[in-house]
Point group: D2
Chain length 282, copies 4
């Protein structure tokens, strides 16, 4: 598969969905030059949204990172996080009662909703679970792992309830060479130990793409194959986009390094429509 220039690729579409980390950002921060990409999209009347597996920060906080780098065109209404799907789930399914969460206090804003009482795992009284109706995994920070994960397991053993994992990623990069376990990785461990079935939100699951597609449709009808999904990871961005019916572009600025792209595509059978070096247009 020959590499294509992102500028030539994206102009074939009416809308584009971007993954964030490895595409617009990396361990050093926002990738220099992507402001030109968004100016180019606006000039060409191409809609854009950012789809991110993240439930640790609100869309406002996520947009703030771009604003600090002078990119005002990425507004919070253009950011779709897996935390927003968790919130939607609670709105539809949990009308009242106590929802327990694992994560920081900041991450808990995702599950604040009328009728619900929000409590961190560490503050739960394990002898009084009567009003507890759901558990949400939000962030890998904000708690003592050994204490709170074990406490969470025993809560789930004592009371049957819905369990939501607001980020499917099992790890995330912390700098050029190091990674950290993500909340999805902790949730996988807990699920294995207690043998129950959790509800997960985030790419590659179709609901993430549907949520973004509905936003696009609000501005006028676009067919799925008029949208391009751009990501650096075959197993989340590309397979998810493909399955939903979108065209897909793999960029080599993050998780998939240039030397390994061909091997990874061949061994996984996950085939992007295009391969581009990055989303830079200059």
């Amino acid at each position: 598969m020959k590499k294509k220039d992102f500028r030539n690729v994206v102009t074939r579409y009416k809308a584009v969905f971007f993954d964030a980390y490895g595409v617009l950002k990396n361990h050093k921060g926002v990738i220099p030059g992507i402001e030109d990409t968004f100016d180019f999209l606006i000039q060409n009347s191409i809609e854009y949204y950012i789809l991110t597996n993240d439930a640790s920060r609100s869309p406002d906080q996520l947009a703030e990172v771009y604003h600090r780098h002078g990119i005002r065109t990425i507004t919070s209404d253009r950011i779709i996080s897996s935390g927003m799907l968790a919130r939607e789930y609670l709105q539809y399914k949990i009308k009242k009662g106590t929802v327990v969460y694992l994560g920081t206090e900041a991450s808990a804003h995702y599950i604040e909703a009328s009728g619900l009482n929000i409590v961190a795992v560490k503050d739960v009284d394990i002898n009084d679970l009567e009003h507890v109706v759901a558990m949400v995994f939000l962030d890998d920070e904000g708690f003592v792992w050994s204490e709170d994960i074990n406490k969470l397991i025993n809560i789930l053993r004592m009371k049957n309830m819905s369990v939501i994992v607001a980020n499917t990623d099992i790890s995330y990069p912390v700098n050029k060479h190091e990674i950290s376990i993500a909340i999805g990785g902790l949730a996988d461990m807990v699920e294995e130990i207690i043998g129950k079935v959790f509800i997960r939100f985030g790419k590659p699951d179709a609901q993430m793409f549907m949520f973004a597609y509905e936003k696009v449709l609000e501005k006028g009808f676009i067919r799925k194959d008029e949208i391009l999904m751009v990501g650096d990871t075959l197993k989340t961005d590309i397979i998810g986009g493909n399955k939903f019916g979108l065209d897909t572009a793999l960029v080599l600025s993050g998780n998939t390094i240039p030397e390994q792209a061909a091997v990874k595509i061949a061994s996984s059978g996950i085939i992007p429509t295009y391969i581009c070096d990055s989303v830079l247009v200059n």
Copy 2:
């Protein structure tokens, strides 16, 4: 959780999604009395759709089974099968070339589309795969397992292509006591052996529910929590409905027998909104 009467439950909703096998049909055929259920829904202006993991027969053929039992109210436009999602995928993603399938000739109708050449695995020339662009698992019948599955594996090793599994089920009942391996079970084996990632359509995946929800929306706006998903299987119907934001009713007329319902709910953590004996309204 106390059992509720289906009549009292369903009247709280504006639309209802039914699983087919174990809910409307069983090993003896259409369950006697369900014609009254559909009459009741029509009288109460409740929309209804049938969501079935099946890519072996067309919606027309699936509707025909109900018609033969005198139930004219189940028309083919109310039946949503996982095969239809596979077809939609091909329409969006595969514009031309040869699509290879495993299944009966009847099942191949799902993947007939303009621009595509449809060939059964047994008719593929393994030395000329140049135009082959996708593989679809449709049905467990219509081929010699030992020959065609091994041939399919070698095709996939020789040429990288998208692989679609049009039914996630791993087995299906053939009579009161016996089951048969479904095409999803064969696909799982092949995926394990060649180590690639296949694209699967069918409950509990969100795309199945989204496809049905879009049909509902065509007739006017309904919120997700105004829809009831009715099924006999926790791990497909109920978890899928829950995750999509629907209310759910587990019926005890199929896969989940009355004595085991409480244990299965507790051990899986998959909690339906209601439990009903069946969908009968009399």
Copy 3:
């Protein structure tokens, strides 16, 4: 399957292997009356060994628990722990260099051997891994989970080395109602995240039984089917014993409660030779 009296069962054998937790001990400590069981075995010249998935304490420390309860007949040479297999592995395979461990200082005694330098994960200099040759998961205590597990993952990403998990259990009981994640559960999470293959020691793996069988053979030849494995867990004790060729007795004093024994045997297909209430002989 009818329950049998343990006294009548065990007298058919020349040797007996016991699981510890749920068989000889429970959350309250050593089960009252088991001293009579060991006196009975000695009177009847039946050899006995205890096989335990534990790498947190030495055989001496494990025996000490029984001694404190006045049971002097359980000496440390009769206790076989999965930690001993990890030690044997290091003796055969790692002749020199630094071995990194996760666990308490007490657990590290298992991997002390001539020629090896033993270092806790927290004390590793991640910028100087030249002499690091192996990693061992020993105990879930003795370290800060969030810090040391993430550090361990990055060590394994930077340097390829053998990874040994000295206890296959994913959880263990801490009191009548609560469990805690075991080191095997943490290791499973790490293995999933970094995608490598770890070496695990402990039941149901054959090496645990082989280690005990070799001890038996030192005292004279006994056929495998002259040995009885006694345990409370189908998926470790019973399947492991069965596969090794031993007869097996499931006791209902621990993990498998009387009401569920028949269901668990039927659903797992793991069939013990006998079922007994407990190992008590009076």
Copy 4:
């Protein structure tokens, strides 16, 4: 890791265990020149055994292949197959009754034993399972897959019994470019569908190595680290040998091609003691 000459490597050991396919044989038959390897071993008084995941042919039939190529030094008593472990299991655990098998009639010789009645799946009367006590997966040939695998599944649903898989391999090469599903792959599919736990024999499981080690010990004591395991597959031969405490040599004449060896070792974390081009000594 630098490649070493096999002649220089093997002379450091008192015994050597060989994998068969990819090491001594390939798709064209016995690899030319390996007769010299065995002459060299005999001259240097190095013991040798062949460990093969195969339950389709008897040790005599397996040895016959080498004899036809003029290699008389590979006698049937030096061949250890996973089928022999299945036979040993039945001898210890199944004293009487009917054992059902999937495979060819030739493969059934492995499970012939006094007291047992041996019946192919296709000849079982599914309405009379009273005397059926075990099921054995032997070979992927000798039966009609769609009929007999579905029948086998229903037998296992109707009667709880021990299930033995006499070959852990999921696929095997049939020529230079093509593979075929092995009996282990079919067994994995059945296990997933019925949700029971099967007993598997074959590399990398420790019992295979223990069986060979006991044969070595009959001729005099040798420490485990005085034995070299030679194989072409990291995930069976090398990890199995390593875990058992043997030194290991990866040869590049089969499954692991020279260009990929370093990548596969790094990504799997399975590290052989040596890498050699082949077992040829000239």
